[in-house]
Symmetry: C2
Subunit: 537 residues, 2 copies
Amino acid sequence: MKYEPIFPFFRGDSCEFNTWAPKANKVQLELCQSGQLIEMQPQQRGYWSATIENTKPGTRYKYRLNDSQSYPDPASLSQPDGVHEASEVVNLKNFEWTDDDWKNIPLKEMIQYELHTGTFSSTGNFDEIRQKLKYFKELGINTIEILPVAQFSGHRNWGYDGVYPFAVQNSYGGAHELMTLVNECHKNGIAVILDVVYNHFGPEGNYVGNFGHYFSGKYSTPWGKPINFDEAYSDGVRNYIIQNVLMWCRDFHIDGLRLDAVHSIFDFGAKHIMQELAEKLDVLSHETGWEHYLIAESHLNDVKYISPVSSGGYGLDAQWSDDFHHAIHTLTTNERNSYYMDFGETQQLSKSIKDVFVFDGQYSEFRKKTYGNSTANNPGEQFVIFNQNHDQVGNRMNGDRLISLTDFETAKTIAATMFVTPNVPMLFMGEEYGERNPFYYFVSHQDPELNRLVREGRKEEFKDFYDNTNNAVDPDSTEAFENSKLSWNIEDNAEKKAMFGCYQTLIRLRKEHPVLQLTDKNNLKISEQGKLIVLER
Amino acid sequence: MKYEPIFPFFRGDSCEFNTWAPKANKVQLELCQSGQLIEMQPQQRGYWSATIENTKPGTRYKYRLNDSQSYPDPASLSQPDGVHEASEVVNLKNFEWTDDDWKNIPLKEMIQYELHTGTFSSTGNFDEIRQKLKYFKELGINTIEILPVAQFSGHRNWGYDGVYPFAVQNSYGGAHELMTLVNECHKNGIAVILDVVYNHFGPEGNYVGNFGHYFSGKYSTPWGKPINFDEAYSDGVRNYIIQNVLMWCRDFHIDGLRLDAVHSIFDFGAKHIMQELAEKLDVLSHETGWEHYLIAESHLNDVKYISPVSSGGYGLDAQWSDDFHHAIHTLTTNERNSYYMDFGETQQLSKSIKDVFVFDGQYSEFRKKTYGNSTANNPGEQFVIFNQNHDQVGNRMNGDRLISLTDFETAKTIAATMFVTPNVPMLFMGEEYGERNPFYYFVSHQDPELNRLVREGRKEEFKDFYDNTNNAVDPDSTEAFENSKLSWNIEDNAEKKAMFGCYQTLIRLRKEHPVLQLTDKNNLKISEQGKLIVLER
């Protein structure tokens, strides 16, 4: 498989436009400001290209298919007017990077901090994150993990409805603002991980299906058709995703990608797309001079994703695991509904600390099947764990954070537990000062019908957890978004200040204590005495 | 996962009935002769059981669900009156086996012979196959590979419409006749491989969905819903399939299973069902004292299926490969339509002999994607190859065998080529004497609508190969079946006799020549001089 360029790029002043449109018999580049239509030349296997002299960044364009409808570029780098309008030419090479000495943070030393750009600050953009770099350093975290920034419909979205994987959300500040943030992070010793979604496309502004065979007809996901990684024309789709991974790491200096829901990425081909991504990124790492990580979000409890290729794995660097969260959440909140029904035993918390997976081949009453396999050959640094995250908080009807469900002292104990495990700890923004604002699910599609469907779908999901879902906040209301914003003002609030101090201390301990730096799961003894767990490291 | 019994079995005179029916709130055993209804006791996770004293083999029964409808047993061992009627109690233990010294044939020594029971002889049953054991020995083959025998609707079917995986087709002679055949084969030094279908159920008499969650809602196959190996309730389905594999090898002394179309067996769980089958069969082999093989039919050109578990494979023993067939077929017939478009180069035949897979990472114009991976670490004995088989002949509109498409001398050259490769050769019944009768696709569903759908579906498929499909034989006609029967009468026909002699010689050479016994692909040099291929071993 040859890797084809698929977004506009500059050679000097001329810009080469490329698109993969195997479904089209004719493709024209439509320059929107002048109304000019330029014939694209067909290349092999459905690629089309045209080179335009003296193109300026900022040029608006679309691709016109078969002399009929024009659409934004599936690999657009910028959608300044949203998902339905023209794409904008961006020169990814004209940013002045000053992070030459950057070498990434080793996984085993990472303290990750998950944040959602839109609700992290009152203005909800990258610039405001940059204002907090000093704060991050005071806190002690060394890695931020940003929820998806690929262009989605509207301004209020977690990011999982993205439809332009190459375009940085306009309302967050676009491509160059993200580069500025990453550059500053690196200069301050902070790594940047980006959440990317390769399992589906969002429902609004989803035009890629007009160009090529992006979607699978063989499998399904809860969010619509999955991406076609193994059927006819999948080479073009694979190239698109591979180019996306390479773009983030090469052109945006991103240190790692968090691959959303790999359990909904279906590939029965002879080389799994995960393995191919890992291999391509490995080659890139040799060029950039630093390692870039691939971290899977997976519900499968299957080490295949993170095991080396030599032993039949896909060779990703790490994966998230929910089991520690579920174990400690059920023990501290006494919740037992829905997927929490499988948890609630003290020894499960011990097992999650010792083995990461509580389910490594046991029957789950919730899933109604046996699942999981053994982590024995995978060190602790291959697993990212958390006390809460955007999903575990935001998928609750009231968006409650852990501190609202337990109490101040318990929240501190839970945090301390996370920091003494051999895994990579991850905080959810605000957790470090005991934020009590909720974090809701929110959308702002332009199509009211879509918003209605989301609203009803969420209510339906909540029925597993709550008797009465009448008071659920409407995901498409501005309140859902505004009320999810962090409240900050730590200095003015004794509780927040105390919690912040606690996290500072725990993180310092984690980073300084020689034993807590070890990620070897095998040098760890754990035993229970009633509700007391004794961990010896 | 605990393995639960799921078909009736005897302890002395009493018979234990077991069924997996997690969808039912109440299950009754209906004894059809007496009309008696016996309450089944619920066991854990959807299993139900009842023990009946003094049960006689031959007893007819059904399972009555929720006080409403009665259905045949999903794990029925016999359907004497077809797919819609009562199941029959069979005692699998009361057969007198006399094959104590049997040890199976090593894969590398196998010469396989694929046969379809219904058309192998005029009466189309197991007894007639048994009459040919002397013939097989004269020919020199040491393994027969029988197309699926699981109960299907009607009497005319290739076997891929089976709906009772545990019941031996009544019109072939049922369970004890199959045992008799296997026993005699073993006494004559012949191994028996059975084709089994674990990717879908046939369309008629398919009642299992009333009992449990047998089918996947997440994936699809060309033949309908695939079997549920990884979703909720999949433990019960996996147990059903595992028990089926164990039954054939333990109770029927079957030497190997040919797993139909594993590319349509979808399992994203942490342990693939293929791996689990291999592990279970390995345990059984220790009990029976001889090795039982699992041989995958796969279109994926992916060695994952046959590589050892230690290097991330599923640990199956071997797989079929079409590439040798396609390479030699195109060169000798000049056909280039449909999937043959990817073949036709002399060097592809060389590659198929040297590496088995012609496509081990190349782009296929027919599939419109890159596929396959390297066989470098897998010896030749892990690949079964053929000049023709039931699919390659029977999926042609006119059911033409290779000899009808080429000529007598070419057919001999093709045979010779197969026998000098380092792979496991497989003949298709009749090939050894140059049978010129066609082998059609045939069905005989009771539902005329199903027959109509099959008829039209086949015509649609043929459009890729033929300009005019008006003369296609109707699959549901008796002619399609009757005309597919072998003509035999070798002695009376000089061409047949000569071809038989040629195969005899080739097989003897293969078995006796020390070089031709080697399955090491690496000690093999191959080069082309125009249309001449020089193979040095």
